[in-house]
Symmetry: C2
Subunit: 341 residues, 2 copies
Amino acid sequence: MVTIKDISKQCDVSPATVSKALNGYGDVGKETTERILRAAREMHYMPNAAARQLKTNISHNIGVVFEDETMSGLTHEYFSQILNSAKNTVEALGYDITFISQSIGGRSFTEHCRYRKCDGVLIASVDFTSPAVRELIDSEFPTVTIDYSFNDHSCVMSDNVNGAYRLVHYLYDKGHRKIAFIHGEQTSVTQKRLSGFYKACGELGIDVPEEYVVEGRFHDTKVSAEATRRLMELKNPPTAIMYPDDFSYIGGSNQCERMGISIPGDLSVTGYDGIHLSQVIRPKLTTWYQDAVRIGEVSGRKLVECIEHKKSCIAEELLVDGKLLEGQTVRDISADLQNPV
Amino acid sequence: MVTIKDISKQCDVSPATVSKALNGYGDVGKETTERILRAAREMHYMPNAAARQLKTNISHNIGVVFEDETMSGLTHEYFSQILNSAKNTVEALGYDITFISQSIGGRSFTEHCRYRKCDGVLIASVDFTSPAVRELIDSEFPTVTIDYSFNDHSCVMSDNVNGAYRLVHYLYDKGHRKIAFIHGEQTSVTQKRLSGFYKACGELGIDVPEEYVVEGRFHDTKVSAEATRRLMELKNPPTAIMYPDDFSYIGGSNQCERMGISIPGDLSVTGYDGIHLSQVIRPKLTTWYQDAVRIGEVSGRKLVECIEHKKSCIAEELLVDGKLLEGQTVRDISADLQNPV
DNA sequence: GTAAATAGCGAAAACGTTTTCAACGATAAA
DNA sequence: TTTATCGTTGAAAACGTTTTCGCTATTTAC
């Protein structure tokens, strides 16, 4: 491996000068700088990250916390996309990404980060209420969380209030007045969607029977199928169901088929996420697209900003817009409104 | 941050002794060792990875090469699972994972690995024919590839020959004699599946018209839909189609619906991969399950073995078994065999 | 002309480890 | 008693950087 010392010999200058030239200090002569840079290039010099880190205490390394146990992090397309996008973003800024986990040896997230001297940590798809995450949040590391907000820490979220809000509006425009909402577990994401849901319903004068709002589970087809069954067996079933995510819709769809309910003939539905799958199945799913790529970008950028300007960087909640993907799972029943069954 | 020096002061021994005690050299007295370990624990000592790496030239860090451009790596459930599983495996062995990419600055995979001083590299889901990958393979780094085999390098694959072979046999048992195969791009995986396909057909005396074997694209619903259309418009259409992967099946399924072809009533189909999705859609997909978790495990283990016993570790091709997941997309038409249409 | 500022460079310390080697005292062997 | 052996410890060098500070030579200001 060629080191700074090798270059210094080659160019007949001191190691100090080489280092400075390489790092663009104004401190060294123009001609010398050029000679050094050329030599470095020709000799295929690669800085030794460990040495640099040891000296500067900067690793140019960002930790990423993903859920371990259920594997639901990496396997979830939404989060995979966020991770991938964040990775590309921070890489362009000179940072690498290392997975952080609490290992068997009882090493916590925080300790793992300390061991690897992460410059900052991106936290996504994890149980945010766990003490391990709390410890990390309270630690010395700059953090950015995704889809969950801590006080005094930056956070990137897709605009869940607006997403649910707009879906309701869309359904309303299509003539729906009996709208059910199968939502995810009690998380802050769920709460925002609920608030968007109720806000829209309130504005539009839609009456929401208690039994129309049911708790499901993200990404769980069994639960969504069961919830769908219950809803459709009501004396007064809804004309539209909003699912917590695109994947859950699959369960609902299966259930409808079992019950002889046609989508969108008898029942209109919407998903959430806008993953690839939702756009290739038939009927194409009407859903709310969360801009995962953008979320990854924004969170990566924000984290790097926090790292490099720790002082001036303020904690903030960044909202990323989504958009409605109009598919074929919502029927326009506004004509029926005049003469209801 | 508490260092070895701090501990040495606390325990009234030299830093050298502390280091040795911590690393379990036999070299240091029993009582002293205990004192040191206790102090380390109490003071929350964390070794400085950079310093250690600088000295030992071992980073305990494994690079992972995933496709960048199309994002098809991380977003592909099969590969996500492999990655996740490999991650868990190597973490248990004391290694962390860092993503390796060729960055904008024109840094190649190999240079990136050198910069981070990766102890070894896992290569998956990438264009294996690219010069950048070739360079990495030829470099000083121990590598393990997934689903692609280089000479003199270890490689982990699911048993693609057997997978295709067994699918054909299964279809045959259900009475199918006209079996079409939409396969993926020309990769070594595809070639193995083709060879398994032809082997089974040969053994069973199944005649394979040339037009029954068509090149599609992995994970591409449009292409699979189009290929399905062509096949079903033949004068003599197949009674069964094998798709290159579960996702591609979605495209085929849509096409069949458009053409009024019922699955499995009029056409039997199989997928490949056995991702979550395939088991929750209706009809449930009959498919070949690739044990991604096992593949990740095996490749992680093998890589660490190569790293830690560079000398004695032989390059080998490791096959991981899969299994048939019987769904509802293959109809038993053996009764029809007696009196064909 | 002198004094002061500046540009360009190098010596050396430091970052936190690991590891070699020597030294020491104590014990075993001769 | 002397010598060899062993177990335990420490001094010090090394890994490849970065950065401070001081030095010289040159330029600028007066």
